[in-house]
């Protein structure tokens, strides 16, 4: 596997593991989510540069737009949870717990 592929895959995987196994704060999950987005953006950007396929240079821009929306949603959730529970600790999101 080429070095670029390895670095992007490992960055993405490490970020997703970081999303899954974060400990206390919701903001760390959001940060990992952002780093996933970052690695995907960089991969999508290098991809048409490598293949010289000009029509797929649009893709990272699209992804960026959607990632911005999603980041804002995440931040809104963070703010809402801080407003209601007083912190962004993850154990406060326990409405489903029996």
């Amino acid at each position: 596997m080429a070095i670029t592929h390895l670095s992007f895959y490992s960055a993405f995987t490490l970020s997703s593991l970081g999303l899954a196994f974060h400990r206390t704060h919701l903001v760390s999950a959001l940060l990992c989510l952002e780093s996933m987005m970052l690695s995907m953006y960089m991969a999508l950007s290098i991809w048409p540069a490598e293949n010289q396929a000009a029509s797929s240079t649009l893709m990272p821009i699209l992804m960026l737009t959607f990632s911005a929306c999603e980041a804002s949603t995440g931040l809104a959730t963070l703010v809402a949870s801080t407003r209601t529970h007083g912190s962004d600790h993850l154990h406060t999101l326990n409405m489903l717990q029996c």
Binding site: L19, A20, F21, L90, Q97
Partner: protein
Amino acid sequence: METTLLLNTFTFLTLMIILTPTLLPLLSNKLQNSPTITTRAVKTAFLTSLVPMMLFAHSGTENITSYWEWKIITNFKIPFSFKIDQYSTMFLPIALFVTWSILQFATWYMASDPHITKFFSYLLMFLIAMLTLTIANNMFLLFIGWEGVGIMSFLLIGWWQGRAEANTAALQAVLYNRIGDIGLILSMAWLASTTNTWEIHQTSTTTQLPMLPLLGLILAATGKSAQFGLHPWLPAAMEGPTPVSALLHSSTMVVAGIFLLIRIHPMLTTNQTALNTCLCLGALSTLFAAICALTQNDIKKIIAFSTSSQLGLMMVTIGLNLPQLAFLHISTHAFFKAMLFLCSGSIIHNLNGEQDIRKMGGLQKTLPMTTTCLTIGNLALMGTPFLAGFYSKDIIIENLNTSYLNTWALLLTLLATSFTATYSLRMTILVQTNFPRTSVTPAVNENNPTITSPILRLALGSILAGMLITSYLLPTKTPPMTMPTLTKTAAITVTILGIILALELQNMTHTLTQPKPNTYLNFSSTLGYFNPLMHRLSSTGLLNHGQKIASHLVDLSWYKKMGPEGLAILQLMATKTSTTLHSGLIKAYLGSFALSALIILLST
């Protein structure tokens, strides 16, 4: 002289005379039945049945008559055929004579009963069924008679139906008879499927028959004739009135099983295993009943066990391949056993319902006729030389001693013979001699001819019957003529030993020696522990087994555990392990998300 025509006519006439008191009330409303009509009908039937007997004794006329055929299946014939041979012609007058005497006695015994006419019609229906059984040549007719006597026995034992013991005794009789009926139906089915006939004279072969039908017939005889294993109903049947005990459970019904074996004897002759079974079963029954009779205190129960013991002796005779001697013993036994029951009935009624022999005594002075006949009956039972019982019992024991057979059976039968003498003498001494031990002085009066003439008639029969029957009937097998002196006098020797034993026991009573409860006394007085063991163990075992199979196994186990509930339990196991994961927390969900992504990555 047209002997067959006379034979047939008079037998038919006898049967019609017996049927008349039952049919007359159906014909017209004005003709009502009454005890005297029934008694007179049976007496007339007895007189007309003497003609076939004398014809047979004179010229040996035998006959098989088929009246009507029940055409239900094309290749299986069920004719209603009657066989008038040695056994039928001899049994008919004897049964009718005994029944006539018993009916005459019952007009006095049951005089205070409001349903006396129904009682007499029941006895008559029983007699019809018994005679059907006797002259049947067909297993089908025999089965009709067999079931008829079983039903009438049930109705008559439970005559005083307000008594709980009478109802349980009647139920016991029906259940034990039913177990025997299984054997009879088994044999009938085997005969129908293998030999394609139910006629008894068509079943005799020279080759050996397989054991299955013979065992079925032996089982039927065990049930009906109260051999060991199916015997408890006979002492319990003493709950019925004394005329019922005299007719059914001494002379006629209980010999039906032995009679069946006599009828099908050609089938048994070739199979030595079946004969040995009869021999050992009969020997065991006779000794067991004699042991139980030793410690009984109820006069009717002593006579009942004595009947059971004599039935065992008849079974032993069948096992010796001597049906004619068994029939001879049936005939002589009918006389003295019926007389013993009638005497006991007279004693019981005169003492105002007292049946315990420990509370009787000194009756020789107050009831001379009854007690004399009681003594005659007991002597005939013991086999006193030249009374009725001697002619049958002595020759049976001589044959037993000179045959090649099982020694154990021989020893048991000899022991039972001596015990017969013991308990008969004990009963005689306790009832008749010494001072009266009744609680209050009862008004004993036997001056009624309805009491004395039946008993006297039967006493005459007990004395003469043996001699008369053996003089006129030729034996079909040669009796043993030569034997050592000890063997010849074996029967009388063991009887005398039994008498000495009884006198010794009586000395114990005089010296007020208290009998200590020891093993043998317990065994004898609880009838060999058979009743509580079998009645409780077998029923609880069966019910337990049934519950285990039906309820536990099928219902609970297979329908519930293997079905829905088992499935639910399996699901519960899975859900319990996965509940910890379903905590409602985001962390867990994210962890499972990562895990599944990892698995997918690794697997592709």
